[in-house]
């Protein structure tokens, strides 16, 4: 499904701030894989997702989705294959536009946009049903501006929008990190429901090791721009948080000092 071969990226090359963000990433995802991605700050998790989405160009390597080479496509062209939810709840939606207008924009992801009406009456019932499934009561507020919604509601809406038109790949960049624990849990539940229902191939970055173990069928650990641990199936199910910490120390030769991850136990 997704094939990443030896992808490298250095920011601010040849300056004092040079930062090797990705140091030869190799990753292959099968259809329907739900992969959680963990790693300390600066490990390159977000950079990897941004490279897949095409936010910045890569220095070298190859990114393929379903055998299509997208390595050099701009972000807006890759959107055809990729649904995304960002860490910042403000980033995924247009605040000054109605809920249904936002959904209509997302429903046309990757399609040519012409002079047809931006939202057809026939779509509205589809959006209504989709919103109803979220269980947040948004279906009765479809003409409200998105700016009136809370962070959690916006994140749930972004998630729905990313999957309204089934993406080949869903990228979740710590999409619950900015939410309070209760809302984060709810959004995570919705995530699992949607991914399961549509059998979506998904990459999800998280800082919560428990979530990383419990959710999905595969777990990937990153460190210094590399994937240092990749586990799936039965082996992943049996993992404990302690195992992950030990693995991290083994692979990196450092203590896992990120207190957010320790607290997340």
């Amino acid at each position: 499904m997704l094939d990443i071969k030896n992808v490298r990226k250095t920011f601010n090359k040849n300056t004092i701030n040079e930062k090797k963000a990705l140091n030869g990433i190799d990753l292959h995802l099968n259809e329907g894989d739900f992969v959680t991605v963990i790693g300390g700050n600066g490990a390159g998790k977000s950079t990897m997702l941004n490279m897949i989405a095409g936010v910045y160009p890569i220095d070298s390597g190859k990114i393929q989705i379903d055998e299509i080479n997208i390595s050099r496509d701009p972000e807006y062209k890759r959107a055809k294959y990729i649904g995304r939810v960002f860490q910042d709840p403000m980033l995924g939606t247009a605040a000054g536009m109605e809920i249904q207008e936002n959904m209509a924009l997302a429903y046309r992801r990757g399609q040519g946009r012409g002079l047809a009406w931006g939202i057809r009456t026939s779509e509205k019932s589809y959006y209504y049903e989709a919103l109803k499934k979220l269980g947040l009561g948004l279906q009765d507020r479809m003409t409200n501006k998105v700016g009136l919604l809370s962070g959690g509601q916006r994140q749930a809406l972004t998630l729905l929008m990313a999957t309204l038109k089934k993406p080949k790949l869903l990228l979740l960049d710590e999409h619950t990190a900015a939410l309070d624990p209760k809302t984060a849990k709810k959004v995570l539940e919705i995530t699992q429901e949607i991914v399961e229902e549509q059998n979506l191939t998904t990459l999800m970055i998280t800082h919560n090791m428990k979530d990383a173990i419990q959710i999905g069928n595969r777990l990937v650990m990153m460190h210094e721009g590399r994937i240092i641990y990749d586990v799936s199936g039965e082996e992943k199910k049996k993992l404990e948080v302690e195992d992950l910490l030990k693995k991290f120390e083994e692979a990196s030769g450092e203590e896992f000092s990120n207190d957010r991850m320790i607290l997340a136990k």
Binding site: I82, M97, G114
Partner: protein
């Protein structure tokens, strides 16, 4: 008394004709969050092109209006390319085009800074000949008619798929790119359409005042912003997109009425630009100061 009435009528007519320009400014400033300074140049360009078309090439006044709009669009596209492909900040890109247009406009007018249209037909004179209406009534009807057509066009256009994507570009570029829209394209298109309206307005004003002048666009952007601010204050409560567009034109009319009144009260016409700038500056400052004041007020020492 009748003098006042005439000058007020003149002001309303001017307000409607300039209102088409304000619609253009509304697109870039309100919908795309770009302050586009091309406007001063493209407005004058619309006027110059229109005058030269009618006078030198004997083109039908209506067709020359279309050419004026097309010229404005071309000017907007230049700013758009500078801003999107070459990533020059929007304000600077607009200034560059505006300055360049000054020379281009002089070239268009054959090196003269002023082209009068005294003995030629204009859309107004043709309309008067056909209907027998007064000069002001004819200009008013034409202005309002064109304003209605343009508002309807914009209302339709910004409801389409492309138009929605353009509105989203003004809201959140990261979001709309993630939905597969090339934001360079939407910004370029917005600047082009916006300046097309500005050029059209320049052509209308030129035909109505019967001359084109190299300086006719100077300060147009500030007039546009002032009109938007006034419209917002008067009709800000109305939420629908159509009423926002109407309020831009209404704001323009009120601006020119205020202008006519303060001029009648004895203000020097040369001070008018200062007044316009002050209106816009105050309108931009007030919300910021209110917010700061609120934050300051809401602080309590506490801790005990």
């Amino acid at each position: 008394m009748s003098g006042l009435l005439v000058s007020l009528q003149d002001a309303v007519v001017q307000g409607v004709l300039w209102g088409i320009m304000v619609l253009g400014v509304y697109i870039t400033y309100k919908l795309l969050d770009i302050a586009d300074l091309t406007v001063d140049g493209s407005f004058a360009m619309g006027g110059c092109v229109c005058a030269v078309m009618i006078l030198n090439f004997h083109v039908d006044p209506w067709v020359s209006l279309g050419v004026a709009a097309a010229a404005g669009m071309a000017a907007g596209a230049v700013t758009g390319l500078l801003h999107t492909i070459f990533e020059i900040p929007a304000i600077l890109a607009g200034i560059l085009t505006q300055i360049g247009l000054w020379s281009i406009n002089l070239r268009i007018m054959g090196g003269k800074s002023n082209v009068p249209l005294l003995k030629t037909d204009t859309i107004m004179s043709k309309f008067i000949a056909a209907t027998g209406l007064s000069k002001q009534a004819a200009a008013m009807i034409i202005g309002i008619g064109i304003a209605i057509v343009m508002i309807s066009f914009l209302y339709w256009f910004f409801g389409t798929e492309i138009g929605s994507a353009m509105r989203a570009t003004g809201n959140n570029q990261a979001m709309i790119r993630a939905q597969g829209v090339n934001t360079n394209w939407t910004k370029l298109l917005a600047l082009t359409i916006s300046n097309g309206l500005v050029g059209l307005s320049g052509g209308l004003v030129c035909q109505s005042q019967k001359y084109a002048d190299i300086g006719m666009g100077t300060g147009a952007i500030v007039i546009g912003l002032a009109a938007i601010v006034i419209g917002d204050v008067l009709m800000g409560k109305l939420r629908s997109f159509a009423s926002k567009l109407i309020s831009a034109v209404v704001g323009s009319v009120i601006y020119f009425v205020i202008r006519a009144m303060v001029l009648r009260m004895g203000m020097d016409a040369n001070d008018m630009k200062l007044l316009s700038a002050a209106i816009v500056a105050v309108a931009l400052c007030v919300p910021v100061m209110m917010n700061k004041w609120r934050i300051k007020k809401s602080y309590t020492e506490g801790g005990e």
